[in-house]
């Protein structure tokens, strides 16, 4: 595993999804998603993507607005790196790679459930009658 790329993947995922790195680690999906991106993309294009992402993160010295602006301009457009950034966002939010569910875990851990205050049907059951109550938040 390329540890630099792996670290970049986690950090850039946090910016792309709006969830903290800790939240993403808590899903247990960092490694499988990193592998899915690696296995489904041209290594050269992906290499440039990680290089660009690392440059954005390093150059902005943690200035969030600057990072977000650079990501929007240099990673998000369809013309950039075969749309890998969008693929990463969809992967985290839906657990799908393209139209396919990656795994049972990716289905359960998709961020969309959390954002919607819902649960993955058939998994992570919420308890009888929970549908009549507003989602619990701390």
């Amino acid at each position: 595993m390329n540890t630099n790329n792996h670290a970049t993947f986690l950090t850039i995922s946090a910016y792309l999804t709006g969830f903290s790195e800790t939240d993403l680690l808590g899903t247990g999906m960092v490694d499988p998603y990193y592998a899915a991106i690696r296995d489904n993309n041209d290594p050269e294009v992906l290499g440039y993507f990680y290089q660009e992402a690392a440059t954005i993160l390093a150059d902005s010295h943690g200035d969030e607005a600057e990072i977000n602006e650079a990501i929007a301009a240099r990673l998000i457009p369809d013309s950039c790196y075969n749309g890998i950034a969008k693929t990463i966002i969809l992967l985290w939010y839906t657990g799908n790679y393209g139209n396919d569910v990656l795994s049972t875990d990716s289905y359960k851990e998709a961020l969309v459930w959390n954002v919607a205050g819902a649960h993955p049907p058939g998994a992570k059951q919420p308890g009888y009658g929970s549908w009549a109550l507003p989602p619990f938040s701390v």
């Binding site: 800790t22 919420p126 308890g127 929970s130």
Partner: protein, 370 residues
């Protein structure tokens, strides 16, 4: 069914036969039995002890949950099913202890700061021969679970603490019988409203007993003790089959099967280790949870601290919910189930979150937060 099975659940092992004289005490406490009985004093002691019983039942749940949630998804099916069913029964015990307390006019206190043990800890009311941690599933932690659920019968001993959960409940049992006798049954109020019943408790093993009179209270205690306790060393009937498909094992034996990676077979003796078919126990398919994690181990406000805080907020919300449910609003318990699930998912997220040292993972700390 023989005397070795419970009246309320003939499939459940029972290790203190009913016809056995109750001799399990205890120099320090024998005083109460010989002095002229003062109903006020017994009632005071009962109110206190039943509150302690709720605390005691609760104190076993976080350690069991840590072991359960540290097991990686899709592995250790036998251990997962076993521990899960035991935790559910501990929750049942907690609610039944609250039912008994309510039945004699007490007020369960479930959401106070001193209700929550600070792990590592000894169990409330039980002596210090073993210490309970919040830790991952391992041979060492299952060994402690065996001690939690060990036998009820012990030789007489000094000191105020009891040697086992079963011994503690026997003292409560005696006080209930005595007080009921002294008050002609008046001590049991028979009120329906504060009782949590099986209507509010679903998706679980065991039987939730609502308590309106002495017999209900004794049945509830027998259910609590019968589900947990291990062997009574006085059992000496070699022909009695204590294991097999139709028998529900006490917690002690179920943990012992995990510990040895082997099931009991019908001809096994309760004094021996299980010698039946092997079960798959993978001690390594476990998140490497930090031992007894604390929020104070981390800088306040740091991301992992925040996650532990969120977990503890959910835990407090659940304790508040159970407190209210056991103080006159039993139907609230239904919404508590949602919180229990939420607590589980948050705990598992922590187990997947790196914590300090290389390779260690965070874990649920079960701490009191405002």
């Amino acid at each position: 069914m023989s005397k070795f099975f419970q009246k309320n659940n003939p499939k459940r092992q029972r290790f203190v036969p009913e016809d056995k004289p109750d001799k399990s005490l205890l120099k320090g406490r024998a005083m109460a039995d010989t002095a002229p009985p003062d109903p006020e004093e017994i009632k005071k002691r009962l109110l206190e002890n039943l509150q302690q019983a709720i605390k005691l039942e609760h104190s076993t749940i976080p350690p069991y949950l840590c072991a359960l949630y540290s097991i990686k998804d899709g592995t250790n099916e036998f251990a997962v099913n076993t521990i899960r069913s035991i935790v559910v029964e501990e929750m049942l015990h907690m609610v039944m202890a609250a039912n008994i307390l309510n039945a004699i006019g007490g007020k369960p206190a479930i959401n106070t700061k001193d209700f929550i043990p600070g792990y590592p800890t000894k169990l409330p009311m039980i002596d210090e021969s073993f210490i309970v941690n919040l830790e991952k599933f391992s041979k060492a932690s299952v060994d402690i679970f065996l001690q939690i659920e060990k036998s009820a019968e012990h030789p007489e001993h000094d000191g105020d603490d009891y040697h086992s959960i079963g011994e503690f409940y026997m003292a409560v049992r005696r006080d209930l019988i005595k007080l009921n006798e002294l008050t002609n049954g008046e001590i049991f109020k028979g009120e329906r409203q504060p009782q949590v019943t099986s209507e509010q408790y679903y998706g679980s093993g065991g039987k939730l007993i609502a308590v309106y009179k002495l017999e209900d209270a004794l049945e509830a205690i027998d259910e609590i003790v019968g589900q947990g306790e291990g062997i009574d060393n006085t059992i000496d009937d070699p022909d009695q089959e204590m294991f097999g498909e139709d028998i529900e094992y006490a917690h002690y034996f179920r943990f012992n099967e995990i510990y040895h990676g082997q099931k009991y077979k019908p001809t096994d003796s309760v004094h021996d280790d299980p010698s039946g078919p092997p079960v798959n126990v993978d001690w390594d398919a476990v998140y490497n949870m930090q031992l007894n994690p604390k929020m104070s181990d981390l800088p306040e406000g740091s991301p992992v601290w925040q996650k532990m805080y969120d977990f503890n907020k959910t835990y407090m919300a659940l304790l508040n919910n159970i407190h209210d449910a056991c103080n006159g609003q039993p139907s609230l318990l239904i919404t508590g189930v949602g919180l229990m699930y939420d607590l589980k998912y948050k705990a598992i997220e922590l187990m997947k979150t790196p914590f300090g040292e290389e390779g260690l993972m965070a874990g649920p700390s079960f701490e009191y937060v405002q």
